[in-house]
Each structure stands twice: as C-alpha cells, then as structure tokens.
C-alpha cells in the first residue's frame, strides 16, 4: 500500500484563502480536511453597535457576495422591526442582487473553474487546444470577453446601487434609489447586451434553449458555445462520476418579491422535497478553533480559541440541518425549484452536475433579470421609511451565488446584542462535526484520483472549485 500526505495551499481561484490536507492511498484521496485559515471576527464587531450599522459592516464581509450580505442584513432588520418593502423596492433589490449573482457565476466559470483545463497536464486531449485558446488564465479569449461583459453588466449595480461591491442602497424599507424611466431603459439595454455575450460566447444559442433542457441526454448532446466545450471535457474526463456531494440540497428560495420568493425554498433528499425548517439548523464547534457549544445561530456565540487546540483544524464552524450536512449553491437551488434537468442531476451530485446547475441558472437568471427590469415602475414608491427597531430578534435568509446565506440578529435597547451569520461556504466547506462526519467537500474529495507525482492533484482542484467556494464569507 502506497500512502502519502499532501497539503494543498494556497488554494487559489477561490474567493479567499483555503488549505486542504489530503491522505492519499493507492492513487486516490482516502480522507480530506478543509481548513479556512483566516479569522476576522465580524460577529464580534457588531454587538453594541446601532442596528443600522449592520448594513454598512456586513456587506464588507465579502467582496464577491456583498449584495447578498447586504440583502440578508436588510431582511433580518426588517424581520426584527416588522418593516415591509414596497413591491417595487423588492423588484429593484432583486435586480441588484440578481446582477451580482450573475456576475459571480460568470466569474466562476470563466476565471476560476475553466482555466484548469488549459493546464499542460491535459496536453493531447481532443479539446485541449480549444481550452487553451478560450481559457488560459488571464489570456484566453473567453476569459477576457467574459470579464468585459461582467464589467458592463455591473453598470446596473452602478445605476441601482451607486457602486459594486459594498452598496448601502438596500435597506429594510426598500432601496434608496428610485430609478427613473431613462434608467429603466438603460438597464434593459445593458441586459440585452449581456444576453448577446451569453448567446454568442457561453451558450452559442438562445438562453431559452439551454434553460429548456429537459434531461441529461439533452445536456450531453449540447455542443455549442463554451457550455458545449465544458460538456466535451466533462464527457472525456468523466466529471459526472467525481466529487459526489451529500446529495441533500438546501435552498431558502431566491429573490423575495411581494408575490413570494421567485425560486422555491426546501430540502431535497432521495427524490423528496420537504420544507426548510430553519429551527433545525445548528452550528457544531467540535472541530473548529471556536469555544462554546453547539447552538442554533439565533443563540450562537463566536469566541475564537486563541490556542488553536486540537481537534480543531479550521476557523469554520460546522452547520448541520437536523444533524446532517447539506449542499447549497446553484445546483441545489435548481433542484429545489424542480427544474427537470436539475432533478435529473440531483442524484448524480457530481462536478458535472454542479457546473451544469450553474449554467442552467445563468440561462434562467438572464430571463428573470429581463422580466424584473421590464416590470420596474418608475412612478411607484421604492422605499417606505419605517422606525428602526429598539428591540427584537430577526432572521434574514437569501440565496447568494454560492448558496444559502442567513443572518440572525438580536436587538436590545436600541443596540445589536447578538449577530450570527451562516454563509454558503460554511455549509459546503465545514469541518467534521462531533460525530466525526466530514463536511460536504471533505466527503466529496474521498476517492479523487491522485496521479503519481502530483502535489496539487487536478481532480482535487476540479472538485473543490466546482463548489465555487467563498472563504471570505465562510469564517467572516
């Protein structure tokens, strides 16, 4: 038996810093430990502050999911104060959030995930020349085109949010900026231009065609655009068989409008979708460098273990739903929303399923963003100012690009008394819990191929990046 240990880090093309320790046996990963190596302590900064300050501070947890953090904080404050957004405020907030999620998905695919296929390790594969031309890091034609399209798409954030990242436009009572008729058509024009990028470059076909894919066979016969290139790579490398997640998916439902959330909330397991019971969330600290007991985030504490004692190995807490791991992200959202292709990929739970789920969401999100922009009514109110709560508790759950994000806060005597955050990558990249059960990525890495001489195995890189981790959010 041939055994060795590998430390993979700094693990890049993820958001933030990441270290992965691997036990390798007979050419495959036998076990993995995921370490989020940075502690900042946002949950410790907030108590004692005016509740309004959460809207300035929490977006700065993360520069890639900043609007998600802002939306979750606004919803938690609204929940605590019984504050409601007018319908048009909700539409503008959803548009701003959806643009961020779209930008993140496009960044992930073109800049974070695909460049690995341009590596010399794949020299000689039928698709390698195409991958080199399109996705060589910082040089590939698709990478550069996508970067330009993303920057232009974010002009919508400039109009509705002043700037991106770190806007203060989303408030519990609505949005600060009421777009006028000229801005509404400008937003629509920007979206049409972004559609051109998606259809010329990513899909090579109308987004409606990709959004309508009914099953895995249809996905496998998709050949056009960079989505087709990914499909060819995936088929050749067998990405449908690697990086298998827990195959339990959670979504809180994205984009709360006055008619309800645009996508469904729930938990998928074994073909059944059940309601998401937020009361069943716990954060286990057994393998985190954190002191205290397992608790629901409404009662949780953040106290770092300065000695970084064993068995802790990460600053990340271990969230569990009814004691078990769940996977969150674009695939999870599409599965819980019962899209037929996503449902067909749910039991597969692989690298391919995650990427296909994200591409599917890009196609559907483009259509949604256009609908939202068309329904903007510049004559309607976008904000309903309301008194700020002096006391109370609140929760705000949203869907960031990479999955379910929750804020839980408690206000006493006009000040924040407690603030806990469970971020998407906290779910996906959690360490082991008290039962020894590994987090979703730790489990997904078991069995990954390690070729002779590989120090930073390619298969491990594909698996880890397929989750689109945001380590900045993870520990916060």
């Amino acid at each position: 038996m041939n055994e060795r240990q590998l430390i993979v880090g700094p693990f890049n093309r993820v958001e933030g810093d990441l270290e992965i320790r691997l036990e390798v046996r007979d050419g495959a990963v036998a076990s993995a430990q995921v370490n989020a190596p940075l502690f900042r302590g946002f949950e410790m900064m907030l108590p004692g502050k005016d509740p309004r300050d959460a809207l300035t501070i929490t977006p700065r947890i993360c520069g890639i999911c900043s609007v998600s953090q802002s939306s979750a904080a606004a919803l938690a404050l609204a929940d605590a104060g019984g504050i409601d957004m007018p319908p048009q405020g909700r539409i503008a907030a959803a548009l701003l959030h959806g643009v961020e999620n779209m930008a993140d998905h496009v960044t992930h695919f073109h800049l974070f995930f695909m460049p690995d296929f341009a590596r010399p390790g794949y020299d000689g594969r039928a698709w390698h020349d195409r991958a080199l031309a399109r996705f060589t890091a910082m040089e590939g034609s698709a990478a550069r085109r996508a970067t330009e399209a993303r920057a232009q798409l974010l002009h919508i954030a400039g109009i509705l949010g002043g700037k991106w990242p770190h806007t203060l436009a989303i408030q519990p009572g609505g949005v600060t900026k009421a777009p006028d008729a000229g801005e509404r058509v400008r937003i629509l024009a920007t979206l049409r231009s972004f559609r051109r990028f998606l259809e010329d470059s990513l899909f090579g076909a109308p987004v409606e065609a990709f959004a309508a894919l009914p099953d895995v066979a249809a996905l496998e016969s998709w050949e056009s655009g960079d989505a087709g290139l990914f499909q060819a790579i995936s088929a050749d490398l067998g990405l449908e068989g690697t990086g298998i997640g827990p195959r339990r998916y959670l979504s809180a439902g994205a984009y709360p409008l006055d008619t309800g959330r645009v996508s469904a909330s729930g938990v998928w397991e074994g073909g059944q979708i059940t309601p998401f019971e937020t009361g069943a969330i716990t954060e286990d600290l057994s393998h985190a460098w954190m002191l205290g007991d397992t608790a629901h985030p409404a009662r949780g504490l953040t106290e770092p273990d300065e000695d970084m004692a064993d068995p802790g190995y990460s600053w990340c807490k271990a969230p569990r739903l009814a004691g078990r791991t769940v996977e969150v992200g674009a695939l999870a959202r599409q599965v819980v929303d019962r899209h037929p292709l996503a449902l067909a990929l749910a039991a597969e739970g692989s690298v391919r399923a995650r990427i296909a789920g994200r591409l599917l969401e890009i196609a559907r999100l483009q259509i949604l963003l256009e609908d939202l922009a068309r329904s903007l009514d510049p004559s309607a109110p976008f904000m309903a100012p309301a008194p700020w709560p002096r006391s109370g508790t609140g929760a705000g759950l949203v869907e960031a690009a990479r999955g379910t994000l929750g804020h839980w806060l408690r206000i006493e005597e006009g000040r924040i008394a407690g603030y806990q955050i469970v971020a998407p990558t906290t779910w996906n990249f959690s360490p082991r819990d008290v039962t020894g059960a590994p987090g979703p990525v730790e489990a997904a890495l078991v069995g990954a191929e390690v070729r002779p001489g590989e120090e930073t195995p390619l298969s491990v890189q594909h698996i880890v990046r397929s989750f689109d981790p945001c380590m900045a959010c993870t520990v916060h």
Partner: protein, 329 residues
Amino acid sequence: MNLLWLQSAGCGGCTMSLLCAETPNVFDLLTDAGITTLWHPSFSVQTGAEVRALLASIEAGETPLDLLCIEGSIVTGPKGTGRYHMLAGTGRAMLDWVQSLAPLARDVLAVGTCAAYGGITSAGGNPAGAVGLAYDGRFGGGALDAGFRARSGRPVINIAGCPTHPDWVTQTLLLLAEDRLGAQDLDPLGRPRFYADHLVHHACPKNEYYEYKASARELSELGCMMEHLGCIGTQAHGDCNIRPWNGTGSCTRGNYPCINCTAPEFEEPRHPFTETPTIAGIPVGLPSDMPKAWFMALASLSKAATPKRIDVNAHSDRLKIPPGEGKRK
C-alpha cells in the same frame, strides 16, 4: 516588470472591483503596460505547491519582485502571533510573509483601506488585531515599521478605498511602470494624489441641495445628506463623483451617504454611519477648511433663500418640480 498580489484579512472586494476595469479590461491593460503577473490569488493558474515554489524563489532572490500588492489588513492576533491568518500551505503567518517579502519589492502597494490602515477588519474592538501595512489606523507603523521604504525608496503606496476604484489601482500601476510616481505625488497619508486631492463633494449631484442646506431627512429623499444622514463627502478624499463607479454610479448618486471610506478609522465614526451627530442642532464635522461662523451664517442665509423647487425636491424620492425656463433679459 513583475507583480505579486497577496490577499490577507479583507473581503477580496478590491480584486472584484479591479475586475470592473474597462477599456481595456484589466488583463489587457496590465499586459499592454508590460506588467507580468507572477501570481494573483483570483486570476493565476498556479495553485498550492506551484505557488510555494514561486514564493521560495522570490525569497531566495532568484525571482526579482517589482510590485508587491497586498489586499486586506494583516492580522496580528492572537497574542501578536499573526496566526489568525496562516497563509495556506505554508505554515507561516501572513504577517511573517509580508515582513519578509516587502523589503524585496521595488514598490509595495496597499490595495484598499484594510491593507492601508486596517479598515473594516479593525472595527468593533478589532477582534483579530488587524493593522495596515504601514499604518495602524491613523498612526504610522503597522505590519511594517513606520519608516519602511521599498527598494525604490518610496513608502507603502496606500490605494485606500472600500473598495478601491479599479482606475485608482490601474493608474497607480501604470505610473509605477513608467516610474513616474514621486514622493510629491502621494498625500500625507500615502494615497496617490491623482484621486486623493479631490473631495467626494466635488461634482456630487446633490450640490444644489447642499448650497441651500436643503437636507434629506430619510434615506431615499433627494436632498443633501450632510445635515442628517451622516454624509461626510465634504471632507472625504476621493474623486468618486468625478470618476464614476460601475458606469455612472457613486455612493451619493446611489442616494446614500459617503462614509469617508478612503480615510483611516472610517470604520469607527463614533456615531451610526447613516446619522449625523449634532451638538445643539449643529452638525459635527463641517467642511474641514471653512470657518464655522461663516458656515453657520451662510447656511442660515441660504436656508432662508431656498427656492420652493429645491425644498420640495429635497424631501421627495424623485424630481417633483423641474427647473423652469430662465427669463430672457
């Protein structure tokens, strides 16, 4: 001319903002200027062992280092060890890496307010012991000594902002690539003067409201946000309203206050960010170089002279009364 970019205790938002650079995109811009990226945590292909080998080669002096960009604050906790951020895979604190690499660089750039002064990571009691590279808040000396000079002789260049504007970063890099950024081009806080010599107030679309002290009372109203809503654009250094963000934006164009994010200690204003503290009804923190008595006299005069159009619009969430046609003389 090569560039190494490392991220520590920040949100990564300055990199995300940098990606918003336009005409040309950031990759073309750097390449065209002759800047080679040795490694960037979000863009480069190399990961894990490949990066460790690169860092070792720089430390050994085998790979010259021209531009060292650090994004995020440097954490010194717990107990001064810096172990709140051990650079993944290296077993060494980022504090140690920065102290080792900075003297090897021709120039050191602190990208964003966290790297410059500590920034948001040092808010709320600073649980992780976050400091900037050459500053701890407004005081000199952070992860590096106050007297630190890079090989060029320049101090750390503080491209402060939360986040930074992509052009602030790219123009600084372009100037350095031509070696045209002298000591006189940095302000007293180490910020490039090409953006820090402006105030956010300059070209703010709310200037007409400011002139009459026609003030918004609630977020979403069009009026000036200085009197009630915490806006410090009249004191904040940055060309945010001259050089728009994401096409046409800025904080005040988004109808929320400037929080002075390019300044040290902006993260602890000692009042809620969106509320102006007052003493006897007078806002604390008037424009920095205006005598208070004059300000008060002008403010009361201009308030009394406020046209109805401006008064009504200031308290509306959209333009209610348009400007009339001027009379022909």
